[in-house]
């Protein structure tokens, strides 16, 4: 029973990371109808920036905040410079650019910081103030920070007028422009937020998987799986899907398939969901007239 609880709680901690990435992917998907493959590499790059700031002697949380600001600006710049010009281009052009961004960030990180594995510090105390063997201090910290961030994002989208405008611009850009919303600004803002959410995920997972340019590959796959499970049209669903993936991955790894096949599990889930429930658990079925 202890093992089961441990694995579940540990799964929630990695699930929090997957949930963040799934949310970032879905936010961009809602706005531009495409899947951002580069989300993981963007997060990895942000994490390297934070590592550099810490290496220069900044305290963790200060570096964390600066990294979030830089990631937000970086995300907006990527949208303005790379994606705004191809806004009306066909899907293949977008895919090519996503792949290009993935490779560029990966190579750039390797070029600047080289490909050797680096240790990324955990900001959380080494010992919990209470006695438990169910969850580690880092894992608990990850869950708390991630839930806090997800809560803030929920409040932003649900209760602020800019959040409402962003939802409106994503769902119906023409009507949004007609009520005076600058759709361009909202798109840039969406990319900035997605990059920021990704950066949090990167900095939270890095102490566990160690920092190196390829660290997000597997993690992004789980993020995608979470997004697909929850439904690409539902940000809340994507978050739940992410947590679900974390827990399922751990339980399947412990009791069923062993840790070597864990990554395969994510792919199996993606394929299964797309086959049997393409809209995901919480997604809306979109009927298109042709």
């Amino acid at each position: 029973m202890d093992l089961f609880l441990q694995q579940t709680l540990d799964g929630l901690a990695t699930g929090a990371i997957y949930a963040s990435l799934a949310l970032a992917v879905v936010m961009i998907y809602q706005a531009i109808d495409h899947f951002n493959f580069a989300q993981g590499e963007m997060a990895m790059f942000s994490t390297f920036v934070a590592w550099q700031l810490i290496a220069w002697g900044m305290p963790f949380w200060f570096a964390f905040l600066i990294c979030l600001v830089l990631s937000f600006i970086g995300g907006m710049l990527i949208e303005r410079i790379v994606f705004a010009p191809i806004h009306d281009a066909p899907v293949l052009s977008h895919i090519v650019v996503f792949i290009a961004l993935t490779l560029i960030f990966n190579a750039l990180a390797g070029f600047i910081w080289d490909f050797t594995i680096k240790e990324f510090p955990s900001p959380f105390p080494a010992k919990l103030p209470f006695e438990t063997n169910l969850i580690g201090p880092h894992e608990l910290g990850v869950v708390v920070i991630t839930l806090f961030m997800l809560g803030l994002i929920y409040v932003f989208f649900r209760f602020t007028s800019v959040g409402l405008a962003m939802r409106a611009a994503a769902a119906n850009p023409i009507s949004a422009a007609l009520v005076g919303i600058s759709v361009k600004k909202m798109l840039a803002l969406g990319w900035g937020l997605a990059a920021l959410v990704g950066a949090v995920a990167g900095m939270m997972i890095a102490p566990k998987v160690y920092l190196e340019p390829n660290m997000m590959l597997g993690i992004l796959l789980y993020g995608f799986a979470g997004a697909v499970v929850g439904g690409l049209t539902s940000p809340g669903g994507a978050v739940i899907g992410g947590f679900l993936m974390g827990v399922l991955e751990n339980l399947a790894g412990t009791y069923v398939i062993g840790s070597e096949l864990k990554l395969t599990f994510a792919l199996v889930v993606i394929v299964a969901v797309l086959l049997f429930k393409p809209a995901g658990l919480f997604g809306r079925v979109v009927v298109q007239r042709v």
């Binding site: 409402l164 939802r167 409106a168 769902a171 119906n172 009507s175 422009a177 007609l178 009520v179 005076g180």
Partner: protein
């Protein structure tokens, strides 16, 4: 000074020219209608005024040149466009739709009052304020579109086929409300309608568009009495 002064306006969809240099003007407080058959360029005219298509020529709004400006700037200057097909934000609530209409404004107190004003014009919207807007009926969504436009506190309202797809009783109700809005809120209107009788009843001025050109213009009474208009558009 006219509220809107359009001079030699052309509009293009890619290589296709949809408006061939039309000129017209709209007095403050008036309701002007643009009549014409399918494909004459009525919707394009409204879209041109809002910067949603590529145009040439001049559009002066309150004396300022607005052609070539981005849509959101024209809107925040007080031009509210009620688009063809209503443009409902289907996944948010009725009230959020209305709030989006006042997105460019900062005067919170006045916005609250205007929300109440919209609800007095359209009590049905108040009943459905927390309902997802996509679940409203066609008539309710059209009222929502007008309400959303009102939330801008506009000087000029551009109405694109507001009667489209609605039951005759609803149309009558809607046009009654539009008339009251025009009189009470001093909102000038530019109305595009297929239903010429309806449009001429509400409007004081009218223009007839044919394949991208203004062919006849005058007061509604003159236009209604015109032999060709009567035969082609009013059907008697």
């Amino acid at each position: 000074m006219a509220l809107l002064e359009v001079n030699n306006l052309s509009a293009f969809y890619g290589p296709i020219q949809a408006l061939k240099g039309i000129s017209f003007s709209l007095e403050e407080g008036s309701v002007t209608t643009i009549l014409g058959a399918n494909g004459a360029g009525k919707t394009t005219t409204l879209r041109s005024l809002c910067g949603m298509v590529r145009t040439e020529g001049s559009v002066a709004y309150l004396g300022d040149e607005i052609s070539g400006k981005p849509t959101e700037q024209i809107v925040s200057a007080g031009v509210a466009h009620v688009p063809e097909g209503r443009g409902t934000f289907t996944r948010v609530t009725t009230e959020e739709n209305l709030l989006l209409g006042s997105y460019t404004r900062r005067d919170k107190q006045a916005m609250k009052e205007d929300l109440e004003t919209v609800y007095t014009y359209f009590p049905r919207l108040k009943e459905r304020r927390d309902q997802q807007a996509g679940t409203l009926s066609g008539g309710e969504q059209q009222m929502l579109a007008v309400g959303r436009a009102l939330m801008l506190r506009p000087k000029l309202m551009l109405l694109d086929e507001p009667s489209f797809g609605l039951a005759p009783l609803i149309v009558e109700e809607l046009f009654g409300i539009l008339k009251r809005i025009n009189e009470q809120q001093k909102v000038s209107m530019l109305l595009v309608e297929q239903n010429a009788t309806l449009a001429l009843n509400l409007a004081d001025h009218a223009y007839l568009l044919e394949t991208g050109n203004v062919v006849i213009s005058g007061t509604s009474d003159e236009i209604a009495a015109d032999e060709t208009v009567r035969r082609s558009y009013l059907g008697y």
